[in-house]
Amino acid sequence: MADVPLLAVEDLVVEYMTPSGPVRAVDAVSFVLARGEVLGLVGESGSGKSTVAQALARILGPPAMITAGRVLFEGSDVLAMHEDDLRRFRWRKMSFVLQSAMNALCPVLTIGEQIIDVLVTHERTSARAARERAAHLLELVGIDPARLTSHPHELSGGMRQRVGIALALALDPPLIVMDEPTTALDVVVQHEVLSKIAELKEKLGLSVLFITHDMSIVSQFATRIGVLYAGRLVEMAPTRELFRAPRHPYTKGLLGSFVSLHGPRRRLAGIPGSPPDLRRLPAGCAFRARCAEATARCATEAPVLRGIGEDHSTACHLVSP
């Protein structure tokens, strides 16, 4: 079992059923996440990052539907699980830190109730033991355990997000999916939350799928990074390698559009145009219209993800192996 990866996603397809027909939000995405690894998934809004994340535990609500692919967790297919097995799998094996610190916690329940119900549901612990564990979890993320009886609206945004992290750690799951865990926070609080995640990652040896649109944040954490564009993975490489030698024009554009505090001064370059409409994807490469180097081949043939170096793959006709 040693060579079975923690998580292997194979040709995942998620479609949104709209009145005018299905829209592919995630198109044949495959990746592997090893134990102890932090895999970053980056892309613009609408690129399908969050959809991938929610598909992993099948928490996507209608109109989204997983129409093809496999999600192998420790070798067993999550997409084939029965309702009961799925409920046991959720949170025990894979927990989530969701995007909006404001809305991920139920406003009418106390922090304690929301941590304890997960403990009681999955571990059948006594209420007292669950309360002690919940208090311990809050301490772990630097929040006074007296806050267990507080409601979400009584906490600041940063505290709420740390409660979200404590909640994700509750069952000590092998994998935590963090979907834009710092997006709704201001920069100072963002830093506070990120350093808490970094500290816990070191201390507990977590495996994390880290989803963000922010290249500078992902570079601090991820061991490898996957770049999503219009629902497809366009490049995947170890973080260092990706920053040193990006190969896909979109990745190059992303890396050119944020400010680095280190290194030489350079001109900030954006990516011209905007992401394509998923309802009317052009034939060929989805990035073609925004790509300065597009050729005739890009208009007719969709590039597939292929290896171009050690642990480095990209989906672009312009890159020769």
Partner: protein
């Protein structure tokens, strides 16, 4: 707690304002009820009796502020004057006859309709697009869209007359004297069934629809997605995470409905000959019984205010965000 006290203060102010209006409005009308009554008796009443009546109704002819003071004093003593229609019974005694029955009939139907409608709304939203959701809401809205008196009369005709399984009229069997005996309570329930069902049928669709729509909004919230991700049981997600939040906007409507309970359901009480407030109000208007009308309006106003306060208390209990404000 401070929030509730402040609200209570506001309601006391509103109560005072409505009491004052209740005092002023009849005095803006020409004539006075005592003269009206005197005229009705076509000279058979002695002038002394007229003076006594005026005294009883508070139209003493003194300066307004004295009348106002007398009015307030009488009110706090629980003295609302003497009814004209039921002369010489006191208004408070007349009110007491109808109030209990109205509270029982309208109160129980509003509570049942709200609870049932909300529950059905929660289930319909949870299984959105399913067979339950596709059939029940249109059916209940269809029922609610009938003219209410027609629906009530059909029920009365069907169950009371044709099938003859439920009583046709009144609040309890004429052969029984009010007591706490089993047979009397059974008779009250039996008589309550038909009118209460008619009110529930007519209003449950509205409650269901509003609960369904607020529930659908809540189901799209991140905390519900999060609850699914936590692997909680569907029932727990449905009630603890979704329904409790979806209930909040509907509690206000419930409070409003509860407030108008004491006004009685005029049509129900007429169709089923139920001895409640609505029936009394009709009597009062027919015989220009100002003191009784005043008394009825007063109870309605107070009930609306009390219900609003109850909603505030309920809100504090249901929604932690209103606490500590």
């Amino acid at each position: 707690m401070r929030y509730l006290l402040r609200q209570l203060g506001l309601y006391i102010l509103a109560a005072w304002a409505s009491l004052t209006l209740n005092f002023i409005v009849p005095r803006l009308a020409p004539g006075d009820p005592a003269s009206a009554m005197f005229a009705r008796y076509k000279g058979q009443l002695q002038p002394e009796a007229l003076a006594a009546l005026r005294e009883a109704f508070g139209f003493t002819g003194g300066p307004l502020h004295e009348q106002y003071a007398a009015y307030l004093v009488h009110l706090f003593r629980g003295d609302l004057g003497v009814s004209v229609a039921y002369f010489p019974a006191k208004v408070t005694d007349v009110l007491a006859m109808g109030l209990g029955w109205t509270a029982l009939l309208t109160g129980s139907s509003v509570v049942v309709a709200f609870a049932l409608g909300s529950l059905l709304g929660v289930i319909a939203a949870w299984r959105r697009g399913g067979a339950f959701d596709a059939t029940l809401p249109p059916l209940l809205v269809f029922l609610g869209a009938f003219p209410y008196f027609w629906l009530a009369m059909m029920l009365l005709y069907g169950f009371g007359f044709t099938l003859d399984v439920l009583p046709l009229r009144h609040a309890y069997a004429d052969t029984l004297a009010p007591s706490m005996s089993v047979s009397f309570v059974a008779s009250v329930v039996e008589h309550l069934l038909l009118p209460a069902t008619s009110i529930v049928l007519a209003s449950v669709g509205g409650w269901m629809l509003s609960m369904r729509s607020s529930m659908i909004g809540v189901l799209a919230e991140d905390y519900v997605t999060m609850a699914h991700a936590k692997g909680l049981s569907p029932l727990r997600i449905m009630f603890h995470y979704a329904a409790r939040n979806a209930l909040l906007p509907n509690v206000t409507g419930f409070g409003m409905a509860l407030g108008f309970v004491l006004g009685g359901s005029l049509l129900t009480e007429i169709v089923f000959s139920y001895p409640g407030q609505g029936y009394l109000l009709v009597q009062a208007v027919r015989s220009q019984d100002y003191p009784l009308m005043q008394g009825i309006f007063l109870t309605i106003t107070m009930a609306v205010l009390a219900a609003n306060f109850l909603v505030d208390v309920l809100y504090v209990w249901l929604d932690p965000r209103t606490r500590g404000r």
